[in-house]
């Protein structure tokens, strides 16, 4: 599904040059559930942003679905992104002025999906996420776990090939965290590729592979297939 080759990301300020990613080469296949772990500042989020095409690397190659996308401009990246990738953030990032239903519907609006189709798809994901009864509420009226379920629903609604989850459980207590992890696993079982950044070893184990980052370098890749059986 995606492959990086010696990915480099360097942040420059006036005095300091920080290497956030140092020759990262990974490959993720369709249908995988990959967890990325590492201490704060190791480059996890930078990697996620580049994988999600929210940011361009300073060097190296990034092949997404067979295309080399690292030199793509903003417009081209946006096009690939909205067709293929769904995002889940630690801080939910729902739009406060829109209802749950409208938040979930938003990606479909940008994909110019017809109204009847939109209605069907939004209802389906809301039901899967067990949040249908809250569809006319605003995000502020929901608990953190419910908000994150909405965010997952939104990531899911356009039926993306890849879901990028950046510490999806970071702001949640353990019971809500478990719920979200179950949802992600459920999606993965349905065939969606999931890449998740997490601090929690427990949640990392939901993935079938863990990539450890340290100081911008990949240190180990554990295949956990065996543990889960």
């Amino acid at each position: 599904m995606l492959r990086t080759n010696n990915l480099v990301k360097i942040y420059r300020t006036e005095e300091v040059e920080t290497t956030a990613l140092d020759n990262v080469s990974i490959e993720i296949n369709e249908g995988e559930f990959v967890s990325i772990m590492g201490p704060s500042g190791c480059g996890k989020s930078t990697l996620m942003n580049i994988l999600g095409m929210l940011d361009n690397p300073s060097g190296g190659e990034y092949h997404f679905l067979g295309k080399e996308v690292s030199k793509f401009n903003e417009r081209q990246r946006a096009q690939i992104r909205k067709e293929n990738i769904g995002f889940v953030f630690q801080s939910f990032n729902l739009i406060d002025e829109l209802t749950i239903y409208e938040n979930v519907e938003l990606p479909l609006l940008y994909l110019k999906v017809s109204p009847s189709e939109r209605k069907r798809k939004v209802q389906t994901v809301l039901e899967i996420m067990e949040i249908m009864h809250r569809r006319n509420h605003f995000p502020q009226q929901l608990s953190g776990g419910q908000q994150q379920r909405v965010a997952v629903a939104r990531a899911l609604v356009a039926n993306p090939k890849l879901i990028l989850a950046d510490e999806p459980t970071g702001n949640l207590d353990s019971s809500h965290g478990d719920e979200v992890m179950k949802m992600l696993t459920f999606l993965n079982e349905g065939g969606t590729t999931v890449i998740m950044v997490t601090h929690s070893p427990t949640y990392a184990e939901y993935g079938n592979r863990v990539i450890h980052l340290f100081d911008g370098k990949v240190v180990t890749e554990n295949f956990q297939e065996s543990f889960r059986v």
Binding site: D55, N93, E102, L109
Partner: protein, 796 residues
Amino acid sequence: MIRNYFKIVIRNILRQKVFTFLNISGLAIGIAIASLIMLYVKFEWEYDKSYPNTDSIYRVIQRVPGKPFMGTEYFAVTQEPLGRTLKSEFPEIVNYATIGTWKNAAINNSKNMSFEENVLYATAPNFLQMFSIELMQGNTNTALSQLNTVILSENIAKKLFGSENPIGKTITVIETETWTVTGIYKSLPANSQFATYGLITSFETYASGLKNREQALSWKNNSWYNYVKVINGTNPEFINARMPNIVNKYLSDANADIKARELYLQPLKDIRLYNNAYFGMGENGDLKTMLILIAIAIVMLSIASINYMNLSTARASLRAREVGVRKVIGANKIQLIAQFMGDSVFLSITAGIFAIILDLFLLPSFNQLIGINFSSAALLQPSFLIGISVITLLIGLLSGAYPAFILSSFQPVKVIMGDNAKGKHAYLRYILVVTQFAASIALIACTFIILSQLNYIKNRDMGYNRENIVVVPLNNNVIIQLGPMKQDLSQNPSISDVTACSQTPINIVSATYVNIPGEAGETKVLSYSIDSDFNFLQTFNIPLVEGRNFSKNITTDSTNAVLINQSLANSLGLKNAINSTISINNNKYNIIGLIKDINIHSLHQKIEPLFVRLNKPYLQYLCVKTKSGNLPATIDFIKSVWDRYSGQKPFKYTFLDSDFNSLYKREERVAQIVSYSSALAIIIACLGLLGLVSFIVEQKRKEIGIRKVLGASVSDVVGTLSKQFLQWVLYANIIAIPVAYYLMASWLQDFAFRINISWWVFILSGGMALLIALITVSSQTIKAAFANPVKSIRYE
């Protein structure tokens, strides 16, 4: 998608009610004021342009070089034969109309009800054709072909005859002439110079009643208006270039006194706003006031749009996260720009609608202010609504553009990751606020300067007394019995002096040439003149420098004595004026007294030469000086004496000091306009400041909390927060002072007598702005400073 944007807009409005209210109301006030001004400018701009032939119609004016009168050498009045002569001499001239006017003529309708109306005498049917005056009843070519016929405007016809058909009915003019109504014409639009005339009769009807007809209609008499219509596209300069031939051929012999005369064609459409010719038919437009108003409209609109822009960007930066999310989900830049533009336009249209509603309420006061009567229907005419829509859309797009482009270019990563772009681009915001306050401060300073000049004008010693003087217009009955009437009036102890005169000293418009007999004609001096009765100097307290006043005991005083002012003595080069002889219109007068120079015009003009002589037939006003005290009783007494002598003529009176004040109507108007707009400007600027302060305070909530935890007192916090805003106002002063100084210095140029602009004006206006800003800012900062720090820290 549009529905989605729309929902967000509405929900944002509801969530931030105060913010939205400030935003919309500031813009609505700005648009409301600007659109009213637009209405006025349109009215003036289209003046006299409603006739189909406007572009090819000209008025003939004359210039008398070197002989200024009332501050100009140009005169709108010319000679009666001029119109037809020009038509026969110049092939480019295809039509002419010669016109005379009579204001406030006493008209009686067939039921003998009295009216006072303005009558126009014109060479018909030329006039009707030239100005395309449509007859609703009657025939354009024949309506005025008979003597003593008249056509009425639709409005006057209704006024004089109600619902009856006036055709064939008669009206009586000054109780002596009877005219038959032969036509009704469609009333002219209010912005045309003939609009105030409701009756048109033929020139012949008027001329037939003239006593000295031959003189009046000769080349010697300058009391008519001549209009000509040229072939379309003729350059008037070609005609002007050949005008000297006309002057040589017809005018030189007739006016041996003044050889140098020049004739010019003045475009009809320029008469209202660019006229410099004296004795014009209608009131001149006020180009200066119009320009001031346009400037104010622009300033108000800019202040309001700046507000709108500032508040919108501040508000938009709160939406940075929304932008980030939308981008991650798949929105492209164009879609985001469209969303924010749409948001801004939606709000500005709302403001536009409020502006129209506001205009409906403001219209009566506005009418009073500018002296034109717009109906509320004028606010709903398409051109006005289109104008407002264009302004509204432009402001919406312009003020939406800034947040739209800034926000849409946010890097979604940074916004999502909390590296918020808040507070960046703030410099532009500061500059805009400084500009706003600079404009407000400049307006406040202008207000102070205009008001103090006005105050100076009204309180300046003009050299004569104008307090407690009642002015009563005279008629022939009374003039004959003036002696006994004055006698009766002076019986009342509340009346200290009575005199009669051709004009009161406040604004003297009659003038004639004076010279020293025996000297060549070139030393002639144009001197303003007053014809008076005895007691003139006493009544107005005009000081005598040398010589004596008129005396009833010296019979020659009534025939050949004259009082002159110092300025006339100087102009004539008289060192020992008393007992010298001067010649006025070839009659010799003996100077018996030298009076002090007094101001005989508005203070726009300098002091000019003046003479006063006794001349009963020309008296027009009775001036009664009363002792302060029971004024109503005194006026009742004057009325009772008047009734005894006037032969049932109605008693009318004015007070000299209010007549004096009306000389400065225009300045009063400017003063009112500028003071209202400076008040509004500072209000709008403060609305913007209020919004901005509350926004910044909201952003700094955490900083305030931390400062308090670390030991800052409330006053420390308020000081830190307010300092920045007050700095802006100080910078604004630096811009405002030179601008206001320059504008006011040029405004004051118009006055021969004027105040010096003093420094305190700027201290005061800057201080006022600072104080108002301080109150606005502290209303928010104090609240923030008192807030519990624990809450705001936990808030993040």
